[in-house]
Symmetry: C2
Subunit: 210 residues, 2 copies
């Protein structure tokens, strides 16, 4: 599976394929044409064939795609079968929402620990995830293989957390702190920023007067 | 300002322009070339000129863009000056995170009220936002002009909230419930779904073995 020339736009569409294929599978659909899949997702059939062709050959002319098989392939492409592990920094409202309500496991990610300075929660568990003091984070990251660091601390602390994660060789940072981390990652760490405002402003545009 | 032929991809990039121009302004940058703006955002200069040309003429050949002016124009395009109002359904962890930590006002949106069934919080305020019982939601939506409904209730309740919002003529739905709302909106209501998993899976892809 070669990834060298896959564009960012295609990468961004792959999780949506996974989501829609999961829904189809749940609905009991066994196979689907690229036309029908395209219609469900708002793409053209040729867009879908082109996207998937980045990763190999899927589906059969005249038969379409096996929903289950394609879903498994997309999961594999997305790294969902690699046993990725994660820790989260910041057990405020957003941290709690992610730990308690976001299903990391369903996305192939195992959440190992959470870090927070609040003495009232350090040493406890939330949804089975131990909450530790950040003082022990470096040791934890050294002793455990951690692929992803989730940042839900306040803005002012986000860069320190980012630097620690890079220092400890964590490859992926999922950053909710709404601040550029400005890390010297030397290309080894990938930062995925979540900007709620981008989504709200796109909606704001769409409901605005022409 | 015509919007008829603006593609979804361009719409999605506009909030990012706004974000970067805000950063430039904060950093004291008065003007910028499309080349430099492109470099900062990871686009080509011609992409930027093409995107902005959807909305009119900005910048001057040989001078570039006035950061402040372009930022104001983009804000206007995004509907940030239309005085949009919003209510939020669900004051759990995610609802609290949005009410307490997400700056609606900075995005031109005034959060009028929050709705939750929890008797311990109904009648109180959170960050200045009154928390009301959902039983009063229909009356509230009828008596107040509300542009956006934010959904942070559990999955199982999301569709009921969505239907109520459509019923009451709310034009935009910002849906965090991670479930398709399947609304009969007749094209009048726009739903913006936030899928955290899409973002995590894109990151998972990027850190996976080739």
């Amino acid at each position: 599976m070669r990834k060298t020339k896959v564009s960012n736009a295609v990468i961004r569409r792959m999780p949506r394929y996974y989501r829609h294929l999961t829904e189809l599978q749940t609905a009991g659909v066994a196979r689907i044409s690229s036309n029908a899949l395209g219609k469900a997702m708002g793409f053209t059939a040729s867009q879908i064939r082109q996207d998937l062709s980045c990763f190999g050959e899927f589906g059969q002319r005249g038969y379409g795609y096996s929903v289950e098989k394609l879903r498994d392939e997309v999961a594999d492409i997305l790294g969902m079968n690699e046993g990725h592990t994660a820790v989260i920094f910041g057990v405020g409202n957003l941290g709690r929402a992610l730990i308690g309500n976001f299903n990391f496991g369903k996305n192939g990610v195992r959440l190992l620990a959470a870090f927070d300075v609040d003495p009232r929660i350090v040493g406890t568990e939330l949804a089975g995830v131990p909450i530790l003091h950040p003082d022990s984070a470096r040791a934890f990251l050294t002793e455990n293989h951690v692929d992803i660091g989730v940042i839900t601390v306040p803005k002012g602390n986000a860069r320190d957390v980012g630097r620690l994660l890079v220092d400890c060789g964590v490859r992926g940072i999922w950053n909710f702190a709404n601040v550029e981390l400005d890390l010297d990652t030397s290309g080894n760490t990938v930062v995925e920023n979540v900007h709620f405002a981008d989504s709200l402003l796109a909606l704001s545009y769409m409901i605005s007067e022409e």
